[in-house]
Amino acid sequence: MSLAISDISKSYGRFPALKTVSLFAEDGEFLALLGPSGSGKTTLLRVIAGLETADAGSVQFRDENLLAKPVRERGIGFVFQHYALFRHMTAAQNIAFGMRSKPRRERAPEAQIKAKVEELLALVQLDGLGKRYPSQLSGGQRQRVALARALAIEPKILLLDEPFGALDAKVRRELRRWLRDLHERTGLTTIFVTHDQEEALELADRVALLKDGALEQVGTPEELYHEPASAFVFDFLGDSIKMPCTIEGGIAIIAGAGVPIVGNRVLENGLATAFARPDAFTITTGDAPGIAARVRNVLLAGPDARIDCGLEGGGALEVRLDHEQAAKLSPRDKITLLPRTVRVWPAS
């Protein structure tokens, strides 16, 4: 175990930002801290780096107690959400800053620093842009300068705060793949914060999902997606549709129709809430048991067709179908909706 975060608590005044959070990372692991805004994920990252102080708990790296050291002695690379590049320094000067900040006897000779800067510029694919100032670089380029600057101090751990937050969708996807490659090459233990579930599921070896300052679930992306521990996890990891239901003998009864339950939750008979993804619905025209609805709109742009349905009992929901099935539907059609399977949690 390379990094052990144990029982970290932190509050701002009366507001608890982190409630006894414990988390472990293996050597070379790529870990995502996922959660909605205000869930404490950035606070946890800043506690590890030493930019915030925890009220209680410990952070161990191998045999070292990290919390006992000041920020500048921790040797942790930190990439800030808005990069925090030194605006009056060129990209190369930014990258060299950490190496030049070392005490005189540990500092590498200037020629060596220059060579290392070139090497890092090449690593982040910015060869030849070392003389540019941050204001002369694009968002994605600035991001990579910030990353090179953090890597220059040869950190034990790399922390990234919303690394793609300020970029547009296309650049974001490119950088994501590139960051995954880079991680495979450097093999550095890396923790990144994101509020984007897609990003976390695609990039990370393991994902830690936070809610209101506490860990909700930790696991591989597959575990989180297929075995969500709570309604919150299911809801956060993708679009979800909530339906009231009654449990009877291990089956969910929704609008008079029985639907099998997946996941090994043992629930007592009675009222509960059923959850399903929008693409897990069967639509039948004509009379059938299920949720009675009327098609309001059929949206055909995109990989899946989206059907906007108005429910007979009031309310609306949007389900996804393949284009072939969707072609048979048109607005004002009377239909019946029923999820094929549901996950069930106690009624909230």
Partner: protein
């Protein structure tokens, strides 16, 4: 801009534009330009020779030296204080922070005369600390020390006020980044913070200097108007004026006005010279 000018629907009638420009110019002329012109006109009314005599008089030279000395002490003090205060209120959270911000502005809102009187009350012969300091051989009131203190108080907000909004908008991410990269506090200050605030700092220092040289009210109370000893330029102008030496009074006054104009010119020049760098800094 070009688009709005071309759009006839959005063009104001000529009399509105002309009227507004006219009012602004007239106002400027009456309130600002005319008095400024008068200062130089009166100073040179009898020709260059009396003007130079007024300036070269030993008491006038002493006043100039004193003014520069006071500025040379008060401005660096307030620059250091301004940086420290702006740093404190923008990079840290502490109890009483908003009170401190309000307090820094206080010298702007109270009359300088009151600032002067406060020093008399504190350090005067019958003041709170006056007798004790007197026993130690330290005199504040009617001395250069008092003038420096009064000027420092009056010009205290200039640098802090220039820096605070800038440092607020810049946040402390760059300092945090420097720390994670292993830089100590001094290295962070000189290589990261100071370069980021250098222009605002320079503006603050220029404004502070202009005000420190021109300060009258507070200085008038504590100085005692001793010619050639504790009379700064503004006080010297008053003394000359009261003695009906108009040419000499205006000669010194014109010099003081010239100092102010030079300060303004330096500021404008710097702005034009480094416009790109300033714009880059503002947009971030």
């Amino acid at each position: 801009m070009a688009a709005s000018r071309a759009n006839p629907a959005r063009r104001d009638p000529p009399w509105i534009a002309g009227g507004l420009i006219g009012i602004a110019l007239l106002y400027l002329a009456v309130v600002l330009l005319l008095p400024l012109f008068t200062v130089f006109f009166e100073a040179l009314r009898r020709g260059v020779e009396p003007f130079l005599e007024g300036i070269a008089e030993p008491d006038a030279i002493a006043a100039m030296q004193l003014t520069l000395l006071v500025a040379a002490i008060a401005v660096p003090l307030n620059a250091v204080f301004g940086i420290a205060a702006a740093w404190a209120v923008t990079k840290f959270e502490f109890w009483g922070k908003s009170a401190l911000i309000t307090l820094i502005d206080l010298p702007f809102s109270i009359s300088p005369v009151i600032s002067g009187l406060v020093y008399v009350l504190l350090y005067g012969a019958h003041g709170w600390f006056g007798p004790a300091l007197d026993a130690l051989g330290i005199k504040v009131i009617f001395t250069v020390t008092g003038i420096v203190l009064a000027t420092t108080l009056v010009t205290l907000p200039f640098v802090a006020r220039e820096l605070t909004p800038l440092m607020q908008s810049q946040g402390s991410d760059e300092e945090a980044a420097a720390a994670t990269l292993g830089a100590g506090p001094w290295r962070t200050f000189f290589l990261v913070t100071l370069p980021n605030i250098k222009w605002a700092l320079m503006y603050g220092v220029l404004l502070c200097t202009a005000r420190a040289m021109g300060e009258f009210g507070a200085v008038a109370v504590v100085s005692g108007h001793i010619r050639g000893k504790t009379a700064t330029m503004p006080l010297h102008v008053e003394i000359l004026y009261n003695e009906y030496s108009f040419v000499a009074a205006f000669a010194v006054a014109s010099l003081l006005a010239l100092f102010a104009l030079v300060t303004l010119a330096v500021k404008t020049f710097l702005e034009a010279q480094f416009a790109d760098e300033l714009a880059a800094q503002r947009t971030r």
